[in-house]
């Protein structure tokens, strides 16, 4: 059986022809009419198959329902086969599943009868269960004529499709006020007072205050001019620093265990979605990845989509893929959220370097909590991990002493306490009220 553009005779047809003709010739030469009885079914099958043999190849089209999904969502791979002569009986389709993807029904193996329903569309569902870019298809389509005597097979590599699986956003919400930033516009209350809408206090008039801010009742009561002061409005500039230098732990996709990179990517996705929904600017920097490494700060849903696509494209690299320089895009006053399993000195060093530049840094620990118990069959690995975790704890203490908060990722509001502290700290450093 070979793959080709046209219809090719199969082993079944060859068997029918050889057996039918061979037994018939033997019956004639040996004067054995009983051999003709044995030959008859094969002769019938061979003659019937030739009479219904298709001559034109079918028209086939393959497509995928959606090119972009979230982890755990599913779409459909469609195979449309048009048989102009109506001589195709059976169609077999196989769609092989790439890694991290389920296909169904029956492992992507489908049989259909075009003889009974010439317009039948063959659908195979595709469900990626881990973020990433993957090639899907093309499906192997094999059409057979009557008696499976002639076969047409198609396997067109040009119809393979890239399916983008965006990370599933973990639930995340933060009610903490923003850290001090130099922005002058935005939807968040600044820790400084200035031009804004939210009432702060009534205070004595100072040169430079606008006349329309004068609070006349208080001024008449006290005999000196008083003005209404407000909190300034500003936006946040959040930088997500994702450590892709290493991937620690086993990943079973969205339905099972999460590796450190799974946790980091899903958390980054959730944080980006949260801050962009509140109108803030979010930048993305990926350390060590072999693909795209940086997205400049921007806001809006289109930017969120770009962030998710870059996150989906992350491939774990190694310290060799890290240039060791200060990541770009860390503007003044940015809140840097570093997502890292913190198992390499490079990542810890990078966090300290960023903090030393005067930026507010919050490290989100993405090491799977059960990392030491992931290989119960190998006690030595567990022991090695426990030793490694002790070393790591010592290094984390050093990082904390340098003024960098380290919190484990635990979903909604997991960063609130630390963000409030950072806000308070920034507020005390901020300018005096005018």
């Amino acid at each position: 059986m070979r793959t080709g553009d046209g219809w090719l005779p199969t082993a079944a047809h060859a068997r029918a022809v050889v057996a039918g003709m061979g037994l018939s010739v033997a019956a004639v030469l040996a004067r054995r009419p009983d051999l003709l009885v044995l030959a008859t079914p094969f002769v019938v099958a061979a003659v019937w198959a030739v009479l219904v043999r298709p001559s034109a190849p079918p028209k086939m089209r393959q497509s995928i329902g959606h090119g972009m999904l979230r982890e755990g969502e599913s779409t459909t791979w469609h195979v449309d086969l048009d048989d102009p002569e109506g001589r195709i009986d059976d169609v077999g389709v196989v769609l092989e599943a790439p890694t991290w993807m389920d296909v169904g029904p029956h492992d992507g193996q489908v049989a259909a009868s075009l003889h009974d329903d010439p317009r039948e569309r063959i659908d195979i569902f595709v469900r990626p269960y881990r973020w990433g870019y993957r090639r899907v298809g093309p499906a192997l389509v094999v059409a057979s004529s009557g008696w499976a005597a002639f076969r047409w097979a198609s396997k067109n590599e040009a119809e393979a499709t890239t399916l983008v699986t965006l990370p599933h956003s973990s639930e995340f919400d933060a009610s903490a006020p923003p850290v001090h930033t130099p922005g002058l516009v935005g939807g968040n209350r600044s820790p400084r007072q200035g031009s804004g809408n939210e009432f702060a206090s009534i205070r004595p008039f100072q040169p430079g205050d606008r006349l329309r801010r004068i609070h006349w009742p208080q001024s008449l009561r006290t005999g000196t001019l008083h003005v209404t002061s407000t909190w300034a409005d500003h936006d946040r500039h959040v930088v997500l620093l994702v450590d892709a230098l290493d991937e620690v732990g086993r990943s079973d996709g969205i339905d099972g265990r999460a590796s450190s990179l799974d946790i980091a990517v899903r958390a980054a996705s959730a944080i980006a979605a949260h801050y962009i929904s509140t109108g803030d600017r979010v930048a993305l920097v990926v350390l060590g990845s072999r693909s795209v490494r940086r997205l400049p700060p921007a806001s809006g849903h289109r930017h969120l989509r770009r962030i998710l696509e870059v996150l989906a494209n992350i491939e774990p690299g190694s310290p060799a893929h890290d240039n060791g320089r200060m990541p770009g895009g860390l503007g003044e006053g940015a809140l840097v959220l570093m997502l890292s399993p913190l198992v390499t000195p490079t990542a810890l060093q990078r966090a300290v370097t960023v903090a030393n530049r005067g930026l507010s840094v919050l490290v989100i620990d993405c090491l799977p909590p059960d990392i030491a118990e992931q290989t119960p069959d190998d006690p030595y690995t567990g022991i090695a991990w426990r030793i490694e975790l002790l070393k790591r704890e010592r290094e984390l203490r050093t990082v904390r002493e340098a003024g960098i908060a380290v919190v484990p990722w635990s979903g909604p509001r997991s960063l609130d306490v630390v963000l409030r502290d950072l806000h308070h700290h920034a507020g005390t450093r901020g300018r005096r009220p005018r």
Partner: protein, 178 residues
């Protein structure tokens, strides 16, 4: 995916089930049934050929799209021709039906991936065709029994004409035109 041929893909697929499993069971059973019928029709079976046929039938289960099926049929026919001398025995119909079933099951096993679920329309169509193939042997046998008493004189011209017709039919059946 790029370099996969149909053969490789079919073989790599896991888990035969449903109709695929039934077909493979019949692929194994039908040559055994043909052998049993041959033994019933003769007093001098050929055990060596029987063993070879069983081995080839087992091979056919795993490679229904290969040449082993044709070998099985030819060996059954050879054993029949060598050991059975009653030209009108009804066992010929039984052997023809078993071989027809063997051929149809082999063919049906190649139209879909092994793990695919067969539709009811496919099952009905292949059952009808298997019945036609098996029934055609009965028709030939009935004609054979009807003309059994008629003695035709030997004729070299008739034999040659028959062979020429068969050769042309074989060429036509191979690819649709002589």
């Amino acid at each position: 995916m790029s370099a996969l041929t149909v053969d490789e893909s079919w073989r790599r697929l896991p888990r035969i089930r449903g109709v695929g499993l039934l077909l493979r069971g019949l692929i194994l059973v039908s040559p055994l049934a043909a052998l049993a019928c041959t033994r019933a029709a003769t007093d001098h079976p050929l055990p060596v050929i029987d063993v070879v046929i069983v081995i080839l039938a087992i091979g056919s289960v795993f490679a229904p799209d290969g040449p082993l099926g044709a070998l099985v049929i030819m060996l059954v026919a050879i054993e029949w021709g060598a050991t059975v001398h009653d030209r009108t025995t009804f066992w010929a119909v039984a052997v023809a039906a078993a071989l027809a079933m063997f051929h149809v099951c082999l063919a049906a096993a190649t139209v879909s991936p092994p793990g695919a679920r067969w539709t009811s329309a496919m099952c009905r169509r292949w059952t009808r065709r298997a019945a036609v193939a098996m029934g055609s042997g009965v028709t030939t046998w009935a004609v054979l029994v009807a003309i059994d008493g008629y003695e035709m004189p030997s004729s070299a011209i008739l034999v040659a004409a028959s062979l020429v017709v068969l050769a042309l039919a074989g060429l036509w059946a191979r690819d649709g035109h002589p």
